[in-house]
């Protein structure tokens, strides 16, 4: 069984209260950092830990922190991205709902490291009940001297505010989030300048995912080196995985990076296999924006080695036969699911969520949705499949933010691996309306 560094106490009764959380060792990282470490020493530990951003991009957190500009007399901010909206991802909600003080503790320790004195948690508006939990926990932290002036007598002051979004996937993109936090439409900004130089209200800002900030707590408590010992290669530490789709036991799991995908899907401690005794058809391992894998590439790579839950192993084979760990939104399809229908569904999602700022994304996501609708509803042509590939190439890389890529890549991957199923929808439209295609065969080894 994996070690749990984040959610070990999640189910302890009363753990959402300051008192119980403190009894279980809570706020130790704040004491250690503020009383015995300099801000730079905290940054150093995070660098040593190898922690990579848990929101999806996987960029090293310590390095991101070290880019923060520190001009004299200019305020800096830490902003927590709690706008969890990537389809298939629901881990941050679990963490914040069960362990609000873990996030607050991480915010204090991280803000101290960055020299931020006003920090913000931007949470998606639909999680209003979680916002209330956080508000209550923040009030408790103030009452117990963990927030406000002169925290623990260290001379360090910090104010922390939690504020809601209003329903927009794009606000998970860090510059769109900052626009939204300034009270504007969530249109991503051109970069550079990066938020580390000009972020919230033009001040140097670090934006980190909920889970990344929570991970700073065990990193400071146990040391960056100890954290880096968990995991494999450049995938260090533990990761929260949100498992959804046709599984016996979907839910949020904390795994040590390096666990095999086989064990995660079928193991007794994890998802316990495919629901209703069915077979695995496909898996999207890192949230809806990453490439889908057909069943024969889920537990094994194209080279025949075991596929592991790491940034590297899930990406093994590149876009030809691999995918990405992304946000850890692990979506599992059983043999009765229709890939064309699902691809259309996600295309509709991206068309709905495009902010409309860049033409290739605004128009392209809409076209893809329409073409996929035709294919799914029996009026598509074989040319439509090549048309999708064309549109894809015109979106990819031509937009301000990665939403365009996120919309394009899953469609490209679905066609790459499931072309037969798409063609079947064109050639046998009547039949495609009455039954699903079933499992595809693995291509014969050359």
């Amino acid at each position: 069984m994996s070690r749990k560094l984040l959610i070990e106490h999640a189910e302890v009764p009363g753990i959402a209260s300051f008192e119980t959380y403190r009894k279980h060792g809570g706020y130790a990282s704040v004491e250690k950092a503020l009383k015995t470490m300099s801000p730079d020493e905290v940054v150093e530990e995070v660098k040593k830990s190898g922690l990579r951003g848990r929101g999806g991009a996987g960029f090293p957190t310590g390095m991101k922190w070290s880019f923060l500009a520190k001009p004299e007399g200019v305020e800096r901010h830490l902003v927590c991205n709690a706008d969890e909206s990537e389809p298939g991802t629901f881990k941050d909600r679990y963490l914040m709902e069960k362990l609000p003080h873990l996030l607050i503790e991480g915010m204090i320790t991280s803000s101290y490291a960055l020299g931020a004195r006003r920090s913000y948690i931007y949470i998606r508006g639909e999680f209003m009940y979680v916002l209330r939990i956080l508000e209550k926990a923040i009030a408790e932290a103030y009452a117990n001297g963990m927030l406000g002036k002169n925290i623990l007598g260290s001379g360090y002051d910090l104010d922390l505010v939690v504020t809601p979004g209003g329903g927009a996937y794009i606000c998970g993109e860090e510059t769109a989030l900052l626009e939204s936090l300034e009270g504007k439409r969530g249109n991503p900004r051109m970069k550079p300048p990066f938020p580390a130089v000009k972020g919230l209200w033009g001040n140097p800002t670090v934006v980190n995912n909920v889970e990344s900030i929570a991970a700073v707590v065990p990193i400071v408590n146990e040391g960056g080196d100890a954290y880096a010992k968990i995991g494999i290669e450049r995938s260090t530490g533990t990761k929260l995985i949100s498992a959804s789709g046709n599984l016996v036991r979907p839910g949020v799991y904390e795994i040590e990076l390096g666990l095999s995908v086989e064990e995660f899907i079928y193991g007794d401690n994890y998802c316990r296999g495919i629901a209703n005794g069915k077979k695995l058809k496909a898996c999207i391992p890192g949230g809806s924006s990453v490439p889908i894998l057909p069943h024969y590439l889920v537990t094994k790579t194209a080279a025949g080695t075991d596929r592991l839950m790491t940034y590297e192993s899930l990406a093994d084979g590149g876009f030809a036969s691999g995918s990405m760990l992304g946000s850890g939104g692990f979506i599992v399809f059983d043999e009765d699911q229709c890939i064309v229908r699902n691809t259309w569904n996600f295309a509709r999602f991206y068309a709905h969520e495009s902010c409309g700022q860049c033409s290739p994304c605004r128009e392209g996501t809409g076209w893809m949705e329409k073409v996929l609708y035709r294919l799914e509803h029996g009026t598509g042509t074989l040319e439509d499949i090549s048309l999708l590939e064309e549109i894809n190439k015109k979106i990819e890389g031509n937009t301000i933010c990665p939403l365009g890529d996120a919309a394009a890549w899953p469609v490209a991957a679905a066609i790459r691996h499931f072309r037969d199923e798409f063609e079947w929808h064109v050639k046998s439209p009547q039949e495609a309306q009455t039954r699903n295609y079933g499992l595809i065969q693995a291509p014969l080894e050359a």
Binding site: E84, S85, E86, P87, G88, T89, F90, D92, R93, R118, R124, G125, E126, F127, M128, Y129, V161, T163, P164, G165, G166, G167, A168, Y169, S180, L181, E182, G183, K184, R185, G186, W201, S242, A243, S244, G245, N246, P250, G251, V252, S288, G329, I331, V332, F333, D334, Q337, R341, N342, N345, F346, F349, H352, E353, C355
Partner: protein
């Protein structure tokens, strides 16, 4: 009148309750001096909590409170999908229709509610009790199919649970 109407700025601002105003002042106070606009999404949520939806008159009042142009409120209110810009029923059922929920039966859930309430997605029941909407991913993928109503999540839904939920909502909305 809609926010994109040329005369929208002339619509009379409406007043908010004392409770809403107190909450509005609290959320404005969370941000530094001069950055009160950051509270706009919180304020629009509060307005919607009071009236059920966000009218042009309400937006014009928000503009006055924040000391910004009405267009700055319209452009925000029309961008974020949680804000209802038309009157809605007492209970707005927002069913997640995105991939992970679809894999576990959200299409059937939507059809069942349509049949049960005798309305289509986007419509309101004649008695004004329910509005049915579909929304994109609500971050509850492991507990689908699901819907949100009044910020509350109803998860792992089946016909029986939907029946119970609708009855409870009818009961609660009677008063």
């Amino acid at each position: 009148m809609k926010a994109d109407h040329p005369q929208a700025v002339n619509e009379a601002p409406i007043d908010f309750s004392a409770h809403t105003m107190a909450e509005i002042n609290r959320v404005i106070g969370l941000f530094p001096e001069g950055k009160q606009k950051s509270a706009i999404l919180s304020i629009l949520h509060l307005v919607q909590d009071e009236f059920g939806w966000v009218s042009v008159g309400a937006m014009n009042r928000v503009a006055q409170i924040l000391d910004i142009q009405p267009i700055e409120v319209y452009e925000v209110a029309t961008f974020y999908t949680m804000f209802h810009l038309d009157p809605v029923g007492k209970n707005v059922l927002e069913v997640c229709r995105t991939g992970p929920c679809q894999l576990v039966g959200s299409d059937d859930l939507i059809s069942y509610i349509e049949e049960k309430l005798d309305i289509k997605v986007g419509e309101t029941t004649k008695d004004g009790m329910f509005t049915l909407k579909t929304v994109e991913c609500l971050g509850a993928c492991g507990y689908g199919p699901m819907l949100m109503c009044k910020y509350q999540f109803y998860e792992r839904l089946n016909k029986e649970k939907v029946n119970e939920m609708l009855d409870a909502m009818r009961e609660a909305s009677k008063s």
